[in-house]
């Protein structure tokens, strides 16, 4: 049983050497192993900033507050230390790494996360199976990381990594955006497998309720202007589907 606790988190984005701009203004959120939390909210409310900050992206600066993984503050840790501690971020825009094959990348990542190289035979089988489940062409192992991948292919590869690396907590940053219905289903099944397989906690960031048909949240949090404006169970998502964010935005403007 693990816990990811975000306490009164204030974060600014670093614009240049001198200027920063506050984005998160006191976020509180606790996720336990096995729980699925959906984070919803309008554009610019700070959802992706939260995701990047938890993973330690250098563009964001923590002004105050804590991010605790099983009681230990991760804000002083480097990006790779956080990853090895069990935090995984499925990126919104996975970047291309020219000249580095997927197979090389996946095995290097697995080795780094586990602290030892995976046994060759089982690893090859694991990769093949996971790719099969996600309907990824076997040829992709010899392609360069994200190079020339379509939007949907990139997202499926993020989930492939999620399944292979088996983190304690996964943050999915708009993994559903740009996916057609079939791809959305395949990706959602991948997340559900990882969730069920190793009691993974999930922070699922999305604009749309569509993905919540496939991945059932235990909790829904509404993000507005850098804070959690409302929270509830899965039924809150249904209400948002009907009413939109307009009520919350009025409140924020007032």
């Amino acid at each position: 049983m693990s816990t990811l606790e975000i306490k009164d988190l204030h974060v600014s984005v670093i614009l240049d050497d001198e200027n920063t701009k506050p984005i998160l203004k006191g976020v509180n959120l606790t996720i336990n192993s096995g729980e699925i939390h959906a984070i919803m909210g309008p554009n610019g409310s700070g959802k992706s900033t939260l995701a990047s900050t938890v993973a330690g992206h250098p563009k964001y600066q923590v002004d105050s507050g804590e991010i605790l993984l099983d009681g230990e503050d991760v804000t002083a840790m480097s990006v790779d230390e956080r990853a090895r501690a069990g935090l995984f971020l499925a990126m919104q825009y996975p970047v291309e790494i020219p000249g580095v094959t997927m197979s090389n990348f996946l095995r290097s990542a697995k080795t780094a996360i586990d602290g030892e190289a995976p046994a060759l035979r089982t690893w090859t089988k694991d990769v093949k199976n996971a790719m099969g489940e996600l309907k990824i062409d076997p040829d992709f192992v010899s392609r360069n990381v994200n190079e020339g991948f379509s939007g949907g292919e990139k997202k499926r590869h993020e989930i492939l990594q999620l399944e292979l690396l088996r983190p304690k907590f996964a943050i999915l940053d708009e993994t559903d955006s740009g996916l057609d219905i079939d791809a959305l289903q395949v990706v959602s099944e991948g997340v559900n497998r990882a969730h069920q397989g190793n009691e993974m906690g999930v922070m699922l960031i999305t604009h749309y309720t569509r993905i919540l048909r496939y991945i059932k949240p235990d909790f829904v949090h509404v993000f507005v202007d850098g804070k959690v404006a409302d929270q509830g169970g899965a039924e809150l998502a249904d209400r948002l589907e009907e009413e939109g964010y307009v009520n919350y935005l009025k409140g924020a403007a007032a």
């Binding site: 250098p58 990853a83 825009y93 790494i97 000249g99 090389n104 290097s108 780094a112």
Partner: protein, 485 residues
């Protein structure tokens, strides 16, 4: 599909070839800061004069024409000004260099004949492993100024292939030297080629008879081991009609306090429809001035390929050239340069189209970090009459940090109308997003950086034989260590 080099967290390479051939481990390890006792070097004289040149020639018992050529070269060397268009060469003190060092009196026939300390040095370089594994067709290992160990496989000999050190070849096959020596790179071509011609010693001679394909690479290792000793090896490769040969030169040098000079000359003749590939990965220690002239003549339908990796040295100036003198001749250069702290890599290539329908390409990849400078300098020349010639140049530079420097000097000289030329140049920086992505997947920053750099040079690394690709990757990792923080 190319085989990938992959590593565990503690740095072990895990690849199928390594699992099959554990002895390959030795080739890629680069803790090459050791040096053994400097017996041979003490006696050698410092400084250059006519007496030194006469002495070298006399000790080798050379024909008079070679002595005369050396003396002529010495005059050119004295007369020619220091090149000042590239890197800073003011640190070279010609009076403080030993021009000839004899390390053993006579050549060893077998591995066991070698003195123990030389054997030990080569053990560290992994040569016996490579040789025992029969990965190499013949190993000519140059220790100091003379080739002391040399072997060629019997089947090659049976095919009529000659592969021996240049000094011996001059004695045993003088006809090749009278015909070809100094014809590709004339005695007064440039200051450093003149210096080499005056004091050359060692190097490799290769002759491949018509129609013979040497299927496995011929390899030679060079190593400077005497403090302040210049190494002036001279290589001559003649590939007769319809033949094929791949020659590999690997260089490593131990670390010394004062500066060293390495100034080699490589001449290659690819006759009609021959194909020659010449691969170099140089990793001279960071005090070596590496000023090398490499040039090939490609006759009708011949193909010349230079694969040139420059990782080490303080300064490297090297622009492997192909003169396409016959119709449908081809020239190709793949070049990698890595400039770390205190290093200046000024490298590139020269393609000279003399006959019609000739084609050439240059692909250059350079990486600079820690304040290093990497420059691409290339000349494409299409002479009058070389109609329908084609050339394509791609040069990509990667900057790992903000204090390093990359320059591109593409020279083009076209004297013919109906030609096709392409030129692409890019400069990129390792992006924050790439680092973040890899680190988010658990890789420490230096490993992430090394992975990005390896990926950048991969299009060239894939052209290398497996053990060299491994070596290149290890070198990159070593270069990237301490690059962050």
């Amino acid at each position: 599909m190319t085989e990938q080099v992959e590593r565990t967290a503690d740095g072990n390479v895990i690849t199928d070839i390594l699992e099959r051939n554990p002895e390959l481990e030795g080739i890629g390890h680069y803790q090459y800061g050791w040096y053994d006792s400097d017996e041979a070097g003490k006696a050698a004289q410092r400084g250059l004069s006519e007496d030194v040149v006469r002495d070298i020639s006399g000790k080798k018992d050379e024909p008079e024409w070679m002595l005369n050529l050396r003396l002529k070269a010495l005059k050119f060397f004295d007369r020619k000004p220091m090149p000042n268009w590239g890197a800073d060469l003011s640190g070279i003190d010609f009076d403080n260099i030993k021009y000839f060092v004899r390390s053993t009196e006579k050549q060893a026939e077998t591995w066991e004949d070698l003195p123990e300390e030389i054997r030990d040095t080569y053990e560290k370089l992994g040569i016996p492993e490579a040789e025992r594994n029969r990965l190499v067709a013949g190993v000519a290992a140059q220790y100091e100024s003379e080739v002391v160990y040399h072997q060629i496989r019997e089947d090659l000999e049976a095919q009529g292939v000659i592969f021996m050190d240049t000094d011996t070849a001059l004695k045993e096959h003088p006809e090749f030297f009278e015909e070809y020596f100094g014809t590709v790179i004339p005695v007064g071509d440039n200051k450093f080629a003149a210096l080499n011609t005056a004091v050359w010693s060692g190097g490799s001679f290769v002759y491949v008879p018509p129609g013979v394909h040497v299927e496995i690479p011929l390899q030679a290792y060079f190593r400077i081991n005497t403090e302040n000793m210049g190494q002036f090896e001279r290589t001559l490769i003649i590939a007769d009609e319809d033949s094929y040969v791949h020659y590999i030169e690997g260089c490593t040098a131990p670390i010394y306090k004062s500066d060293s000079l390495h100034s080699a000359v490589v001449e290659i003749i690819a006759k009609k429809n021959a194909r020659v590939r010449y691969t170099t990965i140089q990793n001279w220690s960071n005090n070596v001035y590496n000023l090398v002239t490499k040039r090939a003549i490609a006759h009708e339908g011949a193909t010349m390929e230079w694969i040139d990796g420059n990782i080490g040295s303080k300064v490297t100036q090297k622009y492997p050239a192909v003169y396409m003198v016959g119709e449908h001749a081809k020239g190709e250069t793949l070049s990698i340069a890595f400039a770390g702290e205190g290093q200046h890599q000024d490298t590139g290539s020269k393609m000279v189209h003399i006959a019609p329908n000739t084609s050439s390409s240059i692909v250059s990849k350079s990486v600079a970090r820690g304040g290093g400078r990497a420059a691409y300098r290339g000349l494409v020349q299409i002479r009058e009459g070389a109609k329908h010639s084609k050339n394509n140049v791609v040069c990509d530079a990667l900057l790992v940090d903000t204090i390093s420097r990359s320059d591109t000097y593409p020279y083009i000289d076209i004297r013919e109308d109906e030609v096709t030329l392409g030129h692409e140049a890019t400069v990129s920086r390792v992006s924050e997003e790439q680092l973040f992505y890899l680190m988010q997947r658990g890789l420490p920053e230096d490993e992430a950086m090394a992975m990005i750099v390896r990926g950048f040079v991969e299009p060239i690394a894939r052209e290398l034989p497996m053990e060299y690709a491994l070596e290149l990757n290890r070198l990159i990792e070593l270069q990237m260590e301490g690059s962050v923080g």
